[in-house]
Amino acid sequence: MLRLSAACLIAGVLLSTPLSAQTLRYGMMEDPDALDPTLARTFASRMVFTALCDKLVDIGTDLKPVPQLATAWELSSDEKTLTMHLRPGVKFHDGEPLNAAAAKFSIERHLKMPGSQRRSEIAPIDAVEVVDDLTFKIVLKAPFAPLMAQFTDRAGMMVSPKAAERLGDKFSTAPVCAGPFKFVERVPQDRIVVERFPDYWNKDQIHIQRIEFRPIPDATVRLTNLRAGQLDLLERLAPTDVPQVTRDAKLKLGSVYELGFQSLLLNPAKAGSPLGDPRVRQALELSIDRNALNQVVFNGEFLAGNQWVSPKHPNYVKEYPVPKRDVAKAKALLAEAGQPKPQITLSVYANSEAPQVGQVIQAMAKEAGFDIKIQAADFTTLLDMADKGNFEAYLYSWSGRPDPDGNTFSFLGCKTPLNYTRYCNADADAALQAERGTVDTAKRQAAWKSLADRVLTDRPVVYLLHRKLLWAYANKLTGFVAYPDGLARFTGLKLN
């Protein structure tokens, strides 16, 4: 009896070790919002969805769409009908099949559910038609080039129609999708737990048994937890902590440049602001040394830029390279504008980095004659202020989208929701309509060039930097690939 108990104990230990060893503890910067792909709005929830909800297509490291739930797709010659073929044999976590009817349901849910955050992303969709069990057609009101890019994110996520109908707007309490992991539990502010879905279509590539997402807002605390063995992988490592990670033999670093940007929004419409004069806006840009800013605040880890995409992006307009700092010219422009000492208020997010960026800009611009006052506030206060156009200069960051349309249309188009500076120019608007109206690469690049012609001269936005997305992880973790959308993929990951 004693031997039997001992054998059971040993067997139990042996069996339990690999299981617990395959629990990946992921340190995230913030607690996600609702875990419903239709209603979710934060970067943090996108991270959890990578485990829970597969998309019609994924994004490759080269930014091109690659098959995920859809294996093939064709666009009609008039670019108004997209036919998609689904992967056979895919099941949702509740055992329901993923077929064309389910895909139609999910896309229509994104379009019609009250409060949907996806509606504006795929608004040009007119109808979704089921062709056969695994084929469906998307009919567009007009050609819409960014559609495939939208399907690489939440708009392409499929939910189980049965669960979505049963749970309604409470779907986020027990999300049912077709991703590699299924939902187990969520304790707000503490953890989200998911476990391996045994019927996943690509189950051979899933080696992790469970994932615990743990929100730890402070970057230093996240890193300390990783070093203490409480986490296996963390996102958004502070650039100043990179040397600590590279020095530690037990840790590894993953990095990729983001798809978004850090910028200065300059509001010419703010009453009485010197920024109403284009020469003052140009002088402000000329007074900033982007590389020095990068070195001082971010240890040189980021990338200086001057457009909505980074200089490494295929759609970067090469005719407009990053301008060099020219204080003499900035002073001359201010003198010409009759404003040698313009006073400007710069609004920044009150986190650990943005005020530092503001201070460096303040110091640089001072040499040209600017007197910049920095105003730090929480994010919602800044959004409210931006919505009302109640700012002069605003240090604004955008997480970026795979298609450059997602970095431009809503910011620079007339009367678009993110156009906080109220910029409206007919040529720029026409360029934006042109880029989204075709998938033809050459025509789109020409549109980006004409958009740059206008925007980089009018300067409603001065693009400054492109952040490097940084992950740190324990070296027992293998198979980690840094994707430019900033979201870790769990396929192929192993904990040794």
Partner: protein, 314 residues
Amino acid sequence: MLQFLARRLALAVPTLILASMIIFALQQLLPGDTATALSGEERDPEVIAFIRDKYHLDRPLPVRYGYWAAGVLGGDLGESIRLQKSVSELVAEKLPVTLELACLAMLVALAIGVPMGILSAVRRGTWADTLANGVALWGLSIPNFWLGILMILLFSVQLGWLPASGYVPPSESLWENLKAMAMPAFVLGNAISAVMMRHTRAAMLGVLGSDYVRTARAKGVSPLRLVLRHALPNAAIPIITLGALEFGQLLSGAVLTEQIFSVPGFGKLMVDAVFNRDFATVQGVVICTAATYVGLNLAADVLAAAVNPKLRRA
């Protein structure tokens, strides 16, 4: 005593109503509403309008307070718009965690502060007094954040004795729970122990100099008995009151410590709710904290009245 208790309870109800009104009104002063915070990066105007309508954000302030108060009377603290979960559930989830942390921190504070305060008063002017004052100064001046990180580096990264963060419910494993709570409780308790020590020292010095203590000493009462039996009970009243106030603050003010050690308590919930303008959650948490605070004050008053019958007529 019963009459005293009834009087105090009757006062607690309007206090809570007033507190709820003030917090509700104060939240409206924050720029931006829930719809601004929750409309996402895309900021679709239709989504903003939908959220405003669904949660009555476009109604006048008294009407919104009315909706909330009616819910509370029906036992419903509302719904967290951000987390899509009932506030009552959130409070029920977080309150035990915060309460446990507060109790453990208070134990640490009492275990360090009171003996040090007594020692410092009894040995006034000696090296022990200087040492106790030095420790108190250290406790007051060390920022929680810094001490927390240093403790994690020592006990988790270097020695590997304690988990760096997280929370294990005592029902799952009491040992793991205490291990997880040891550092946060010490960091929180350390700061309060300094205040406790200063107050105990002042109260003890006052009592030790009084006539009855001199008389007791003249009658040959042993020093230990003199301090513990004669002086301490009379010095205890300000310590009890202070303890109750500090405990109340612990319930609402452990934000930084909870952030450092990722303890899922009221602090983290509150900070996230304020930044996301999740008014129902803020209101629910504040009301529960206020109720606990009022309850603790009541308990302190009752305890003080039990020690000193003269107070019952107050």
